[in-house]
Amino acid sequence: MDRRLLTPEGVRSLLAMLREDGFRIVAPSLVGGTVSLAEISDLDELAVGLALEVAPGRTRVVPSPAMFGSIGGPESLKRWQHPSQRVIWHGERGKNGFTGSAVVEESAGPVAFFGLRACDLAGARVLAKAIRRPLGEQDLVISVRCTSSAPTCFCTTMGTGPDVPEAAADLILTEVLEPKPRFVATAASERGAALLGRAASKPASAADAAAADALVAKVAADMPVAFAPEAARAALGTPSGIGWEDIGARCMACGNCTAVCPTCFCTTVVDRTDPAATVADRIMRWDSCYTPWFSEMHGGSVRSSISARYRQWVSHKMSWWWEQFGTAGCVGCGRCIVWCPVGIDIRKEVEAAIERSTAHV
């Protein structure tokens, strides 16, 4: 498709137009001391010129020469695709038992997601399979291709990035800083083309397009391949009782990794009642396989040890997901590494599991 050039002001004008069109805007914003996807009510809330310096168990907001340089913030599309808490049923007790009905969410209006990375879009695709609930058709996706990566990134290992497939977005932007900041824009859908057509832009030269592609290609080339996904799938296919003691001692089973993971989909349902229990709301909320109650049955948890819970999580991500949904459950975004309070690196744990499985053959 045609590629156009936008100035940084041109990108802002895209967002302003979307707001006028009635879209809620979800974009990188400085919230809670970090740069994260968030719904913004004003374009000034955009995290412009900020990036995250990330490492296992560590993040810091730092200035960035790029307009949209942040990678690794805690929120993914999951927050909007699969709400963390929602009432799904409301019931009232009467003289003859009780009556109730499903509470189906009213849409709060279409969302324009801005600044999504290739891993974010892959995460949304994978999550949609598990929750059988894609993004709304009215939602709009503006992706920003990665022109830098974090040390926690491993999208090339999982085959999800850094390039953005056109089918995944409406508009794809690539930020080029030299010699002066500009965005190469590719409309990837009719809606994306219509939007781009309304902004002040000019045709991108072949040199501009090549410069943008080269930046993305360099990110891919520089990112180390962490492990072979097919080896991980094989190694974690049958749970092994050996080798998990060490991770069990390091992991605190806090569930941060499952909360920030763009594909972790598990939920529980709890009842909320008034004191007299005349009304009851059934509330679905995110759950984590790291909690002791996750596998609770009469007589206790199936997975009472933290070792078993970590094994469950990583085996599901890397192996069982394939059988269930035809894809890996991991997209290589690295959030679980960044937001783990003790810096557990899934790449190293998977590598160790692969080594153990080959050593025992």
Partner: protein, 277 residues
Amino acid sequence: MDPARDPIRLFAPETREVLAVRKETADTATVTLAGGGRGFVPGQFAMVYAFGVGESAISFSGDPYRADIVEHTVRRVGAVTGAIGALRPGDHIGWRGPFGTGWPLQRARGGDLVIVGGGIGLAPLRPAILAVMADRGAYRRVAILVGARRPGELLYQEQLAEWRARFDLDVEVTVDAAANNWRGSVGVVTRLIPHLDVEPTRTTAMVCGPEVMMRFSAMELQRLGVPSRNLFVSVERNMKCAIALCGHCQLGSLFACHEGAVVPYDRVAGLMEVREA
């Protein structure tokens, strides 16, 4: 997010009246609910909802041919099952179902059938036994092995006595431990398996009970010569949604609520050998 495609609608229970509550053991009761089982097959389960407390996955334990009622045998082990166990006739309860897979009764036709139930594990097998008895000519030998920890924990005692009186069923009952006044068999249920009078290669086995009991039953049945592909077990996991959506019941790649609860033993044998899988 598209509300029309929201699977959340599948979580809404219907309200059912409790018609009867029959005490089975000190902590177990069979509740009879008005309304049929929506064509359930033996081995399937329903999600039973105690208002304001929560839901629990409970197997059908009654006659699959009754269109007017359903029965569930519930052991009080937690808040939800405690609330279900405290129901009285005239009370109301939430219900949705049926869910999961059933026992391979079709597949078993024309051959011998071995049914092994341990403790509350006899409950999901009872509809299968009732279905077999309604169509007794379709099977060759039918053996039912029942185990419980103590004599007082044997379910359906009157019915067990009726079944034992029949000439077309081999029913054996054993308990793990008993006081001096028990004159029956003592020992784990798996010890009855070597004495089965069946043609192993033509035998289908349906086993339900604690995981360790199912594992040893499978071992004993295979030792007897029953091919592993003819062994079926019912796996139990924490189930919240019953539609392979909440993730709780996973056992390896298996969503126990959807691809199970009844599964070929070969599907889970490897997983059952691993601690905390």
